[in-house]
Subunit: 466 residues, 2 copies
């Protein structure tokens, strides 16, 4: 694989100039005629973000390499050195896109009289055409939420980039998303403050219809914000998988949001799902651009910045849109990967620095990587469990001459997939796990919108049956 050329080819330049020009003209039209839906502006900005990211990765990759942002691709025979941390480029382009987008979905409030110093003595609300779902604009009370989302995302970009640069230790890493969730939690506290959850129907006789979680609700939100970025970061190691899982999750969230654009209007959840679309579409734009370089055979790496940032976007839209339970239905592979990894993370089983699958240079296929028990022996209670898992093909296990456990496969979803399905090429592994993510996510959405009605009084797709 030749290294990435630092300039665009003529065809690429023309394609992206044409795309950008088309997007810009739609955008200009949306800005000048208030009858156009903000969603159209969001789509055009996403296309622009796609082209900008595609070009900037090319232009900036050599600079990143020169300043030490590079890493070896361990799943290749020749282990080429690739530019690292291209997620930082994505994050910057994305942030510019969602900041520039602000005037589209929000009314313009004009202060007609001020006694100076920023006082709003007379405020005129400019009333644009505001009928129908697609022309809907947000009231200004939503502005604080939108801005707090931007602040949380910028914080994770800053800290994630710091992590890529300084290689922060694992036990400190956990706190990065927690720190980044403070802005949305603070704004939620002063600007909304609802901490009650709906109780499932079977439990309502005991707990009532609503249950006020109080401070626990903030702990819950912080946990969502801590889990999403780390879980994306953990399902990593082969070309393209970080980005492809993010793209699939984002697409599924967009699909879920779109359901709410088809319900009878006005609907109480329209706003929060438009909100979610406005944040997800530009992320799809930059992620698809990154994926073209990161898919097998990768020519750039994405860095922790990308994984954190991506997870934080999902956390932010689901927290501010009040659909964090739905999000977890889409993160089943990540949840499984986390639980399956737990024995290694908590030290029951030795945990090497890298757990990514191992390339068999002779066959060109990936095989599960193994952790060596070397001078350690598994806990006596663990031995039968390991043998049972091996028999169920949930683990690969080799024994020494004495019959003792010598090696077990590293506990990640990627290794497990190789244990169950046998060795395969890197591209195929990435494709299959991505497909798994899509299938499980679609099933999750089906559950959400059909079976959930059995335990909750209302689906927020329909009108509340009050």
């Amino acid at each position: 694989m030749a290294p990435l050329p630092p300039t665009l080819t003529r065809t690429e330049t023309l394609t992206h100039l044409a795309l950008s020009a088309a997007a810009l003209s739609v955008l200009a039209n949306t800005l000048t005629s208030p009858g156009e839906p903000p969603l159209l502006a969001s789509l055009s900005l996403s296309v622009l973000a796609f082209s900008l990211t595609y070009s900037m990765i090319r232009w900036l990759a050599p600079t990143f390499v020169r300043h030490g942002f590079k890493g070896r691709d361990l799943c290749k025979a020749n282990q080429p050195e690739l530019p690292e941390c291209m997620g930082a480029v994505c994050a910057v382009v994305y942030l510019i896109a969602i900041i520039v987008f602000i005037p589209f979905p929000f009314y313009k409030d004009i202060v007609a009289a001020t006694s100076g110093g920023g006082n709003r003595d007379v405020v005129l609300e400019v009333q644009y055409v505001n009928e129908g779902r697609f022309l809907h604009r947000f009231p200004h009370s939503k502005l604080a939420s939108y801005l707090s989302a931007i602040i949380s995302l910028q914080t994770i970009a800053l800290l994630g980039f710091g992590d890529d640069l300084f290689d922060i230790r694992w036990r400190h890493k956990w706190w990065i998303p927690a720190l980044a969730s403070i802005p949305i939690l603070v704004i939620y506290f002063i600007d909304f403050g609802v901490t009650s959850v709906v109780i499932p129907i079977p439990l309502q006789p005991y707990l009532g219809e609503l249950f006020d979680l109080g401070a626990l609700y903030y702990v819950y939100m912080a946990c969502v914000a801590m889990f999403c970025p780390q879980s994306i970061n953990m399902l990593a190691g082969i070309n393209g998988i970080e980005v492809s899982q993010s793209v699939v999750i984002a697409l599924l969230l967009v699909l879920n949001d779109s359901f709410y654009l088809l319900t009878p209007y006005p609907h109480p959840a329209t706003d929060s799902h438009l909100f979610s679309l406005y944040l997800l579409l530009p992320w799809l734009g930059v992620s698809v651009a990154l994926l073209t370089y990161n898919w097998f055979p990768a020519r750039v790496f994405v860095g922790d910045t990308y994984c954190y940032f991506s997870g934080m976007i999902f956390a932010v839209v689901s927290i501010l849109g009040h659909f964090s339970k739905t999000l977890f239905l889409l993160l089943v592979p990540q949840l499984f990967n986390f639980l399956y990894s737990a024995p290694q993370i908590f030290g029951l089983i030795p945990c090497p620095r890298h757990r990514l699958p191992r390339l068999n240079a002779r066959t060109g296929l990936l095989e599960p990587s193994m952790t060596v028990w070397a001078d350690r022996r598994p806990h006596p209670l663990l031995v039968p469990v390991l043998h049972l898992l091996a028999r169920l093909r949930l683990l690969k296990l080799t024994t020494g001459k004495d019959g003792e456990v010598a090696e077990t496969s590293n506990l990640t979803l990627l290794n497990l997939w190789l244990v169950m399905r046998g060795p395969m090429r890197e591209r195929r592994l990435a494709a299959e796990v991505t497909a798994l993510q899509a299938v499980l996510g679609l099933a999750g959405l089906f559950v959400r919108h059909s079976l959930a009605l059995l335990i909750f009084k209302e689906d927020n797709l329909g009108m509340p049956h009050l």
Copy 2:
């Protein structure tokens, strides 16, 4: 000078623990009793930010050095290598402080009924005690401004850090603050939108009382946001000067804000000056901590991040507080430095990479650094000007044997000061230029609050005479 020890001494630990404990207890008290003024919370957070910055610089300096953030101190005989870019630590601590501060100055709006999805069907405004200036809390319409300030500051932190890392070229550097000003301009556009300026009394017969600048007002704001960070960045080169000028400017702005806490209450400008205090006090906290390490003899460098961030804070408070003209009165040395540098920036005079004063190793004194005309000759019209400036002691000039101009001093305020006052020690130069900043700033504030009444109908210290 011994290198900075990576841990705090026992005395330092005890001092900072005691300081933090005191600040935390005041903070906890302010949070639980709504009768306490938010200003007290801001002060406690500033003390906390001071202690945190002081400690974190010590802990993180070796990590920064290990990852290549280091630079040589060119004004010392032995040119020691120092940790670079400690302004990034200041920026992160500061951002956490102003985000955590949000619940103090803003009322808590509680959404009492929601139809789901983040809708505000019934909103209760929790009315705390709200009498008197010091207990004043902001209405939620100010929240968007506060958040947009945070976003702009985070953007400059991200881009400034990128600049420190990638050494962006000068012609690209100019656009960093412009990019960072977009968030406040966008929020100003949709959430306030006043673009009229008050016309000075002598011109009112011709132009009317107010003049609507329209889009030009945004250009003006962007220029303020571009100028402040670059101007702080340009008045640099000797130990401590970047931080000490920032501390002086911040103190003068705090002094100016304090005037508005003494006027008859309620006053139309109280809000914007409280706003400014809330953003400036934590910056003073982190800057003073940095200054203890950066003052002569410096044991850390601050990096472009610090200069950009500092200038952006001044730009943001003055734009959102509508006192950008006052800010310029405090930036007279920076304005002068910029204009004096212009001939070198625009290439009339050769511009070497570094223009900082030169150490005379024999005397231990700093002398003006010189730019060599080598193979270039000054423009014939420029020669008499250079000689005139040299005669007025506004420039040092050496001629070759042929009488031609051989060398001229680099055009910076620091070199000019050395030309006028003669060679001096580095510490003294920093102290004198800082004192100059303070004296000119105080004079500027005097002009602002006395003479300005001659050309404007009202001082916003007094009530408008309507």
